[in-house]
């Protein structure tokens, strides 16, 4: 079971290396590229989270869940008061 899973992962990692041409480069170069990939992914993630999410939310008229929660808590407090 575990062996088949590792085989599957290894095989598709190999295919991924082939498609990105990382199959034929040295190990440190592979690591460098993966670090660059990771940094790019994180930057995108942050950008999407901070900028794109609120922007699209405003366009589509969807209120972010955080502000809904915030509004709910504040109104409960106001009702109690």
């Amino acid at each position: 079971m575990i062996k088949s899973i590792t085989d599957f992962i290894n095989y598709w990692y190999f295919r991924y290396l082939m498609v990105t041409e990382l199959y034929m480069v040295e190990k440190w170069e592979r690591v460098t590229i993966h670090v660059i990939f990771l940094v790019i992914f994180l930057l995108f993630w942050y950008f999407n989270y901070s900028v794109l999410l609120s922007f699209t939310g405003r366009i589509l008229g969807i209120t972010p869940i955080s502000s809904v929660l915030h509004a709910a808590t504040t109104s409960k407090f106001s009702a109690a008061a």
Partner: protein, 571 residues
Amino acid sequence: MADSGGSEMSDFTATYSETATVESNSNHIGNGSVAYEKVDSEESLRNRRRLNGTAVNHRDEDLRKTTSSSQQNGLNFSKHNTSSGDKESFEEVSLISACLTYLGFYLLMVLGYINQLLFKPKVTKEENREGYVPLYNSFERFYMLYIYRRVRDCWNRPICSVPGAELTLKDRITPDYGWTFEFTGTQTRCLNLGSYNYLGFAAADGPCADDSAKMIEKRGLAYCSSRQELGTSFLHQDLEALTAKFLGTEDAIVFGMGFATNALNLPTLMSPGCLVLSDEKNHASIILGLRLSGATIKVFKHNNMKDLERVLRDALVYGQPKTGAPWKKMIICVEGVYSMEGSIVKLPEIVALKKKYKAYIYLDEAHSIGATGPHGRGIVDYYGLDPSDVDILMGTFTKSFGSAGGYIAGSKRLINFLRTNSHAHWYASSMSPPVAQQIFTSMSIILGLDGTNEGRRRIEQLARNTRYFRRRLAQIGVITYGHEDSPVIPLLVYLFSKIGAVVRTLTTRKIAVVGVGFPATPIMEGRIRFCLSAAHTKEQLDYALNVIDEISDKLGLKYSRKPRDPNPIEY
């Protein structure tokens, strides 16, 4: 095969349409269902348009003519393109694969620059050159050091046997990612799918080898002189006569080097003020020759007759650049079988264009001579044309004849002109006696002059091998380029990594193949090139095909989106 049975060529159009009919018939036998489906869909499309009330335009009328009948005379390229288009395939890869190929290439470039920045390349550096511009720096050099070098073990592999149906590879390892190599001292016997040994005449024994060895004892190894001085002997004259007889031309001239035959004779035939129409996939030797000649070169799309006619007509109308004067002469430069694409030139159309516009044809048969045609006489024989329709027939002895050198054949006047003017004839050293003898013996065998059926058998074996291998590859689902009768079979793998992985994996399975990448092909179109031989047996091909099937699953080479033939392919 599109052989019109040697019919008279005086009425070209009649023979031409006959050829087309034969071709389309054989197509229907080959993959009838596909062809009919196409016609059906076109028919239904047209009907739908009529139902919608759209006027049937002129193009539809054309389409119906081309699909319904093939009895038209004259030049109708769309018809022939479709009929030979079925035999020739250039399947395009999906967009996602193309994008990934580009992405991978950029990654390699970025890594190359990083590597170059951090480490000094392990190559000789130019020293004591203060203030000089570096002599050897270019994109090609960067490419060689940081992309090609990583998979360099797949190229220029040393062998230590005759490259027949099998060959012996000398094993080597690299401790530092391709900068240096070390021999391990071991050897691997491999099936050879990489040599241009089309008719299997590259052998260490047999009549060719025996005759050549005898000729060494008799005449030595070299004449050490050019043909115009002391280098001509009865051997060369016999060989020229035999070549002319083989090709059916008036005369022929032979040279000791195939590359130089193109590179040095094209400048003899052309000068500034001439127009050359050159196929975009022409070999480097033709391109070099054309550049040396100083003629105006117009490039047309690969094997695209419409584009050729457009370029030709435009050039004819506008004349020479700046002055607008008429061209001194016009020459169409094409190859018989294109060694990187595996396609076959559409010679009947080119001959028709030549007659229409009064241009000359220069046909390079480097890969087609011996390998195509029912008599092994190349493309002219393949289409059943008259050799005098092609003005200049050029070819090499390196491939099918298992030797070295090149020839030019044509009319007596042309050959006499070359004998007095060609630089290769004047200055290059003449062909070595054993080399000439090898060609002489192998050509005699192909012609059947040795009294056996051996030549015929080899030609048929190659044709069968080619059809079988190509069909099986199509069934496997990989993308191959070119014409179904061309023994050069490029298998598209696109990525450098995949070239490396395929060549390495096949070597472990005892199959030696050649990978081709930039600069021989466009950067994005890496490929594995199989060259079949008459020396291969069905068992050897079956073994290779089974291995290819297995690894193309594992490495992801099945790019083709065409319908596959579910029936087993017969040899």
